[in-house]
């Protein structure tokens, strides 16, 4: 099993071979020590010596957003092609880690529900009013049972009609009133 890890040609970025910086307008960008990027699959005569390349703006993408939000972060270009993978944000420190974290915080929006104020059901749609870490919010869900994803035994992710995501970090940690309201759908 171990042998095919090397065959896969994965590029891991760590603080040794990559440095983050911010562009003038605050977008995340990266310099990395790697062979130059092939623009064209079939071009021959390309020089493969690794050197510090300025990749410009990069995009980060969590590969396991629910399980391991700080691990296995994919570094992509603007077309979605992958440059490499960051094994763990802790591979970077200080400013670099901050830049990555900031980008991820902006990309993934999932308010965590702290309290369920009310939950009404009408004609198959459920109307929620909740208290989250981003303030009081209200939304509606249809096909409620289907749209509550059980990421783990205690972690839920609700998707509403528009596509907004709301997370419940720990169902059992909710106060009993809120819990009783959502118990139906569990």
């Amino acid at each position: 099993m171990k042998n095919f890890l090397d065959l896969a040609e994965l590029k891991y970025f760590t603080s040794d071979n990559a440095k983050m910086y911010k562009t003038k307008n605050g977008f995340a960008a990266m310099k990395a020590f790697m062979p130059p990027i092939k623009k064209d699959d079939l071009a021959e005569g390309q020089d493969n010596t690794p050197d510090w390349q300025d990749l410009g703006r990069v995009y980060f993408h969590r590969m396991f957003p629910f399980d391991a939000p700080d691990e296995f972060i994919s570094v992509l270009d603007k077309d979605g092609n992958e440059y490499g993978i960051i094994r763990n944000i802790t591979d970077f420190s200080g400013e670099d880690a901050d830049i990555i974290n900031e980008f991820l915080a902006r990309k993934y929006l999932c308010p965590e529900i702290t309290k369920v104020i009310s939950l009404k059901e009408k004609l198959g749609y459920s109307y929620w009013e909740v208290e989250t870490d981003k303030g009081k919010m209200s939304f509606s869900m249809h096909d409620t049972y289907r749209n509550i994803a059980r990421v783990s035994d205690t972690r839920l992710v609700l998707t509403d009609v528009d596509g907004n995501r709301f997370g419940i970090k720990d169902v059992l940690a909710l106060d009993s009133k809120s819990y009783r309201k959502i118990e139906l759908y569990l």
């Binding site: 099993m1 890890l5 896969a8 040609e9 590969m63 396991f64 957003p65 691990e71 993978i85």
Partner: protein, 764 residues
């Protein structure tokens, strides 16, 4: 001498009269369609030189009844066709399979000649005949071993003479129905005896208390309390308290009983379902391909509920009610024998009509069940294939189909309801007449004072008689649930008794390290009788090499992979891995070393991560990512907002064909087996992605065996060796260069595909 079918005496006499030595014959068999395509009795005798065919009808000359009441028939044979073939003149004896009938033909002087016809009932025997005749011609004798049919004598039930519907299960549905079921039932019963006894215990406690109440409230009350000079005269309060106490006790016990039976019901149903599911997973693939899965699901759910109900509700109550009935009858008899006799005059009539109803409802329930099952299957099917329905705009037709089946099912259920509604009230009316008789005669007796009858005794008698209705009503209902239960059991045993075709041998060989040498030796296989899908194929794949299999659609390529993983067993020939026949290998070794990526990808409902990890649940995320990078799946997974946690499967995100294939390739790669089989695994992808995957796979499978099945030749670029499969046979094999030189099938395929490219202006 092989007797595929025993000849009746008249036939043997007939043949002997024609000069054929019945004792010296090598094989006798029967068929059922004559040369004029009409149902006849056809008898065939094979001896060393001749094949004799006699067609005609067996007639009964006369019949007389023996002293013990059994009829004796004298039979004769009216001949319609009689032909003798010299075996040496016949060439190429073969079976031609038509639709539900077939012919056995041969060439005589290069002219085709008909030996005999047969219907599907005898197709197996016809196949045997051909093989026997061929071996007879070759070796001069029939090798019974080679015919490979162990119990061919016992293909029909010894009792009624009918053939077994399923030769693997020697069960005659006509004769062995109820007896066998009851035996199986008792086995299950013993399994759950703890629970049943528990419930029986609590129920009997309740009914004991219930049995005391009428005595207390009537006899004692009237005779001893209210009457002057009675034992407890005036002590009304005491008596009432006693009655209340008895009631309370019975209430408590029934609460307990309710709790117990609820727990028992959950446990027993859970246990049953687990057993069924377990059995199902052990069955070989052919069981599932031959059945509608929708029907299976209804079956498991309903039948296990039915059986729980039988054991934990029905059966204890049944026993209880019978005991109650007998006890009450005895009490009533003690009180007043004559009255008892009058009271029960209607009951026997009740029970006779019972048996009759039992039969009717039996059939009706079976009909209702089968209609419901087909209805449920239709729904499951159409909803699954909604895409196809919509792309051909057949929604209206499907609606009509659904409507028809739904109506049939509703009709069957309505029939049952209507019949019950008509029949049972009439039965109860009969019972009620009994009670009027009791009132009349009993009252008259009290007036006359016969037999020491007084009002108290009469009241008690009537109270007990009233209690009889409970058990009787339940017993009347018995026919209902008994027939439903029998049906459910029958269907259930169909599953549990289904023969596991592919079994592990007695002492399987386990190999720790599998090198990966694969060899097929003279392998033949057919899914359906007499239609060979693979015919005598042999090839070798040494470890570390890549084999490409080409051929037209339906030529039998996918069957080879089914045989290699022992999803089906080969009929003839052997398949060897590392020199060991796979039939001798343990399932664990076999499944560990071989992985297939098939044409139809099946992904379970869950996240992409779960699906890839299915091959190896303990894999780390690193390994999963590596596997999916090799399979070129990583690039598109990363594009989804949820990454590897994207939910896919039925009802969730629909992936395109190429994406699904890449995920299943990643799944197979994660397993990292010694032998990897790719069956059209890259068919749904563009050539660029295909190339990427192939390059990555090349590095991965260095030193391992790969078998690639394709009909797009560009997929087979890296194959060391190629074989061509055509109509189940292997006409060519070798390297690509050799095959091109041969200018055979491969060359034609190559030219076709190259020509196709020419038409879009690309020169070779």
């Amino acid at each position: 001498m092989i007797n595929l079918e025993k000849f009746p005496a008249a036939i043997s006499e007939y043949f002997t009269a024609k000069g054929i030595d019945m004792l010296g014959a090598l094989m006798t068999m029967k068929s059922d369609i004559g040369a004029d395509s009409v149902y006849k009795d056809v008898y065939i005798v094979v001896d060393t030189e001749y094949v004799t065919v006699a067609e005609g009808t067996v007639v009964f000359k006369h019949e007389r009844i023996r002293s013990d009441g059994n009829p004796v028939r004298a039979e004769g044979f009216v001949e319609a066709r009689y032909e003798r073939f010299m075996l040496s003149e016949l060439e190429e004896i073969k079976v031609e399979q038509l639709i539900s009938t077939g012919r056995v033909t041969a060439l005589r002087d290069n002219e085709p000649v008909l030996i005999f016809n047969f219907s599907s009932t005898y197709k197996h025997d016809a196949g045997l005949f051909c093989r026997a005749a061929e071996s007879l011609k070759k070796d001069g004798k029939i090798d019974e071993e080679k015919l490979k049919d162990s119990d061919y004598e016992k293909n029909s039930c010894p009792k009624c003479g009918r053939r077994y519907p399923d030769p693997d299960r020697k069960i005659c549905p006509k004769c062995m129905d109820k007896v066998r079921l009851i035996k199986k039932l008792s086995k299950l019963f013993l399994h759950y005896k703890r629970y049943i006894l528990l419930i029986l215990l609590s129920l009997s406690l309740i009914s004991m208390l219930g049995a005391i109440t009428p005595y207390v409230s009537n006899q004692i009350f009237y005779a001893d309390v209210l009457k002057e000079g009675g034992r407890y005269y005036g002590k009304i309060l005491n008596i009432i308290l006693v009655m209340i106490a008895v009631r309370v006790a019975s209430l408590l016990i029934s609460l307990l009983n309710g709790a117990i039976s609820a727990k028992v019901s959950a446990e027993v149903t859970y246990d049953l379902r687990k057993n069924i599911f377990e059995t199902l997973s052990r069955l070989s693939l052919s069981f599932f391909t031959n059945r509608q899965t929708g029907g299976l699901m209804t079956q498991i759910n309903n039948d296990s509920t039915m059986i729980y109900w039988f054991f934990c509700d029905g059966f204890p109550y049944f026993v209880l009610n019978i005991v109650q009935l007998i006890v009450f009858m005895i009490i009533m008899f003690i009180i007043n024998p004559i009255l008892t006799v009058y009271a029960f005059v209607t009951v026997p009539i009740f029970f006779i009509s019972f048996k009759f109803i039992f039969l009717i409802f039996d059939k009706m329930y079976a009909k209702s069940w089968s209609r419901r099952r087909s209805f449920n299957s239709l729904i499951a099917d159409v909803l699954n294939g909604m895409r196809v329905v919509k792309s051909f705009s057949r929604e209206d037709d499907e609606m009509k189909r659904f409507d028809k089946r739904s109506k049939l099912s509703a009709d069957a259920d309505a029939d049952i309801g209507i019949k019950s509604a008509k029949i049972f009230p009439m039965l109860f009316f009969l019972l009620k007449i009994g009670s009027y008789i009791v009132w009349g005669i009993g009252g008259w007796q009290v007036m006359k004072g016969t037999g020491g009858m007084d009002y108290a005794k009469l009241a008690t008698f009537i109270a007990y008689f009233g209690l009889i209705y409970g058990p009787l009503e339940f017993l009347a209902d018995v026919s209902n649930w008994w027939s439903e239960c029998l049906n459910s059991l029958q269907r259930l045993f169909e599953i549990t008794d289904a023969n596991v075709e592919v079994k592990e041998c007695e002492n399987p060989v386990t190999l720790d390290k599998v090198k990966g040498d694969v060899e097929f030796r003279n392998v033949s296989f057919s899914y359906i009788e007499n239609r060979k899908v693979i015919d005598n194929i042999s090839f070798e794949v040494p470890s570390g090499s890549t084999l490409g299999i080409v051929g037209h659609t339906g030529a039998g390529k996918s069957t080879l992979e089914n045989l290699l993983t022992r999803l089906y067993n080969t009929e003839d020939g052997e398949i060897l891995i590392d020199g060991v026949n796979i039939k001798d290998l343990s399932f664990e070794t076999l499944r560990r070393s071989v992985a297939i990526v098939s044409q139809e990808t099946y992904l379970f409902r869950g996240s992409i991560l779960e699906n890839i990890k299915y091959a190896c649940p303990e894999a780390t995320e690193d390994q999963v990512i590596a596997a999916s990078v090799i399979a070129s799946a990583h690039s598109f997974i990363v594009k989804y907002p949820d990454g590897y946690h994207t939910q896919i499967g039925f009802g969730n995100k629909e992936l395109s064909g190429g994406e699904r294939q890449r995920i299943s390739i990643a799944r197979a790669i994660l397993k990292n087996p010694q032998i990897l089989i790719l069956d059209e695994a890259t068919a749904a992808m563009d050539t660029q992605t295909e190339r990427q995957i192939q390059e990555a796979l090349n590095r991965l499978t260095k030193g391992k065996t790969t078998i690639i099945i394709a009909h797009r030749l560009s997929t087979l670029r890296d194959a060391d060796n190629l074989i061509v499969i055509e109509n189940g046979k292997m006409p060519e094999s070798g390297t690509a260069k050799e095959l091109l030189k041969k200018k055979g099938v491969y060359y034609n395929l190559y030219k076709l595909q190259a020509d196709a490219l020419k038409t879009i202006g690309i020169e070779d």
